[in-house]
Symmetry: C2
Subunit: 207 residues, 2 copies
């Protein structure tokens, strides 16, 4: 692509550094910004700059936050004795969007993956142990990816915390709602047979 | 989507104002920025801010520019007597990327479209007339969209400039390279038959 302006070229190149944005998309976005009022571009730019400079991570659960303690941890309506352990911020947003969970979170920052150089010390596991010691929750819900790394992380944490009287659970795996049996992979279908649930319970949770 | 941080929510909302960026993509982009070094986010933000505040439009051809006269117009190697009339900046970039054109441009800023409230006075047509009077180019190449609006604009400009000894041309329309005849629309195929060219010329331009 040939540009007659270094400012334009620079802005396009910066946009292409974002994931999934190619040259043509970057150009479209930049030309869009060029057509906007100066004030609204200033506002856009400010929102990104403030985000990067002012964002903090909750001291308790490591979720993104505007203060030292995030709005979920500081909400007195939420059950402190229920901690949902997730990989990242995106998982918190996904679970919050279901409106089905009323406990608090613990964001690990990833899962144990020796091949990628991620051991327990790269994650917030020590902070979770400390938290369990201090807060004595009644249940830890693991909502991690159903991979070997995710399972390893669950076993590791469970072993660390075995001396505490905590219930360890994981979110249910199975056939998705609206999913057709014939298209499900064998692993999921097999596990959903092993973990079958009484019809009374199914009726109770789905009506 | 439920966010635990107003800064995060704000940044996501700002991104969704860009064309073709939905909530999920916006979140992905924002979380990507959050993971970057502060300095590189500052650089990104600065590039966009500088673009909007410092960009200028060439006094001669109305292309985007870093100075009063753009790098194409001020390039002494380019033929001043050849002016390619285009709708917008994107067209200039597209033509420049072919490396086949050595003249200068005139960016109209759109085409005449009474239904959209765009008349000749909303475009840079008056400036083009002035330019032809001053610079006396030998040829005007119209590279506009092959629509009624594009054709109207060509006829309008040609009528305005009929007293000058200029050659008026339009870029060739026809079957695209690698295009199969059976998939071409009738209009394009029909026109490409009417505007057929001698094989000698075809051989000359394609070898």
């Amino acid at each position: 692509m040939q540009f007659s302006s270094a400012l334009l070229e620079n802005a396009v190149n910066e946009f292409t550094k974002l994931p999934g944005i190619g040259k043509k998309t970057a150009l479209r976005l930049v030309l869009h910004l060029l057509k906007q009022e100066t004030a609204s571009v200033d506002y856009f730019v400010q929102a990104l700059s403030r985000l990067r400079h002012e964002i903090r991570f909750c001291h308790r659960c490591h979720n993104v936050s505007d203060a030292d303690i995030c709005s979920i941890c500081s909400n007195s309506m939420r059950k402190r004795e229920l901690i949902c352990v997730v990989e990242n911020i995106r998982d918190v947003i996904a679970i919050e969007s279901t409106h089905q969970y009323n406990g608090v979170y613990h964001v690990l920052g990833g899962v144990i993956s020796p091949l990628d150089g991620i051991g327990p010390e790269q994650l917030t596991i020590q902070s979770l142990v400390q938290r369990v010691e201090n807060e004595r929750p009644s249940e830890l819900i693991f909502a991690l990816s159903p991979t070997i790394q995710g399972d390893t992380t669950i076993f590791y944490i469970q072993k660390l915390l075995h001396k505490f009287a905590i219930r360890f659970t994981t979110i249910a795996r199975g056939i998705a709602f609206g999913g057709e049996l014939e298209y499900a992979d064998e692993m999921t279908l097999g596990r959903s047979l092993i973990n079958r649930q009484p019809v009374e319970q199914y009726v109770k949770t789905n009506t």
